[in-house]
Subunit: 381 residues, 2 copies
Amino acid sequence: MIRTTLAASLLVSVSAGAFAAQEVYETEQANFRIETVAEGLNIPWSIGFLPSGEMLVTERDGGSQGLRIIDADGNLRAEPVTGMPQDVVVNRQGGLFDAIPHPDFAQNRLVYISYAQGTREAHRTALIRARLSDNLTALENVEELFAVDFDIATNRHHGGKILFDRDGYLWLSLGDGGDHMDEAQEPSNHIGTLIRLNDDGSVPADNPFADGNGGAPEVWSYGHRNIQGLVQHPETGTIWSHEHGPRGGDEVNIHLEGGLNYGWPEITYGINYDGSIITEERERDGLEQPIWYWTPSIANSGAAFYTGDAFPHWQNDLFVGALAGMHVARLETDGDRVIGQERLLEDLEERIRDVRTGPDGFLYITTDSDEGRVLRLVPAE
Amino acid sequence: MIRTTLAASLLVSVSAGAFAAQEVYETEQANFRIETVAEGLNIPWSIGFLPSGEMLVTERDGGSQGLRIIDADGNLRAEPVTGMPQDVVVNRQGGLFDAIPHPDFAQNRLVYISYAQGTREAHRTALIRARLSDNLTALENVEELFAVDFDIATNRHHGGKILFDRDGYLWLSLGDGGDHMDEAQEPSNHIGTLIRLNDDGSVPADNPFADGNGGAPEVWSYGHRNIQGLVQHPETGTIWSHEHGPRGGDEVNIHLEGGLNYGWPEITYGINYDGSIITEERERDGLEQPIWYWTPSIANSGAAFYTGDAFPHWQNDLFVGALAGMHVARLETDGDRVIGQERLLEDLEERIRDVRTGPDGFLYITTDSDEGRVLRLVPAE
């Protein structure tokens, strides 16, 4: 990526709300500027766009005070949304995760929120839904829809990404809890799984273990380490996930059918961070192979298929944030395959936590910092 | 990639012939040292391993004097092989290309050589075969097996990679000659095609246009810009090629059947190097999509599926040199798909021209320079 620093006299500085356009980033398929939408956030973990133009932004380390509203004009409201459960445990990787509106939010005003629930010594990933008040200030009628059936004390590998697919199914990604990797091979519990629910939290009749035989009813797939990206391909409709592997094992998977085992920790392309071997096996019959993995690891986080009009050459590309990698990966796709990769925003030198396509067609990202920002990429000539 | 510079007191320096092991390169799936096999070569374009342990190395800019022998002990013979055709034209990208032994070289002593034939004003890629004398000093019984049927004056985009597949078919890659891209869409001539022959230069009966209807008999596929890597997948048996695209359009293709059109210049992921648009189209029904492309471009050159024992975790990975990119790309494969990429040897800061797996299981590369070297990667703890 080439970053062009314009001479000061040519700087085009646009002020609109909190936005300020500056340098032009020239990349392979698009030139863009970066605008700051909001700043001063405490590990902004997720962006959810409301149909009325506001954004739900979560602060992971804000815990029960971490659900924030950015108004349509770019103003970050000072007061967090009230009414959140008080049992959000903020520690290490745990805290508040996704907050996503229901596809019919304009009618039902429902939002879905995932978080680390419990205490530092005994916690689990939970999913609630609630009505967001008309003035966006409070959660009402909070209901717990799901909670992992296995308490952990590690404060790591929680999963936490929420997706509504086009058919209205509600997906929740989970992790192996760090110290419980062997449980990821057991679909009878929720550790290391991908969960599929109806929007009221009930179990769809066509889930692979809907009757409880062979696995927990909510489980769609298992053998996952820590899914941190969950999206649906805009053309094929296939669910794509990506997960943190060990060193060298960050991977992208596709979910063509239910009941599949993605292999962690029986097979992996990675090794432990201390250099020790987890397993020499990279593939085995009956265990799913990734369609992509990053070497070296990037610590992939957040994901969006780009579907806007602002960047025509990015259509259907998968954008993935990188924490340790400090960039945004643009994966070119051809159907359910990855056929190329470009790294964007390396010069920003920021850990990227979430990536989303905005309803305005701009690409939104959050920076993973206790002085975290919401940024958006807008086209430049 | 992390390069570890060992303290001088720990340096393990091995001298064997021209070899000298130095630093340890620590990469995702293997640690290795780099040994210099030969140096002082003039654009070493290709390596061919003889079953008796010697290497054929071509110097592109050596022209008719450019076929060199490296003995099994690593000694580069001072005198080039004699008997080469005198009509090798050395200019810009043209000169001597591949020199590859027949699979049954031990019995028949045949070598196959590709080169730019003619003059600067009128030249074409040609393929000869010859007997290599027992003492490896001279070509005998030189026969021309094939020459492109379209003379060019550009001195660019010659193709020139030779492959014998497991069934004994002889493949030759070609290019569009730089200024003749529209001819690449015409399978009735050889511009921008991949050629498939029997080992005596005759046309296999099952070539897609063997009877001359719809295309030239030698043509297997067309719509190529400049194929600079040509290999057979060790497990699937599929022929893989890679070609130089325009800026942003370097790509890897697979050849599952004959008669296919790979789209250049009708579709491409790249743009002209001056930034102008060739076509907005990236895909079209009836034109083949790449299975991988590099963004940004790397100027891919040479290719080898790794099949040795020295680096167990590299099995079936595709290694590709990068000229402008100055590294070796390691593409992880899963059958006929690419599922990951690692860049090796970026610290070397050398243009890489050819990559081959040696019979000793080491990975051999050549550096693209008028002080070019043959290097090999050997395992390190």
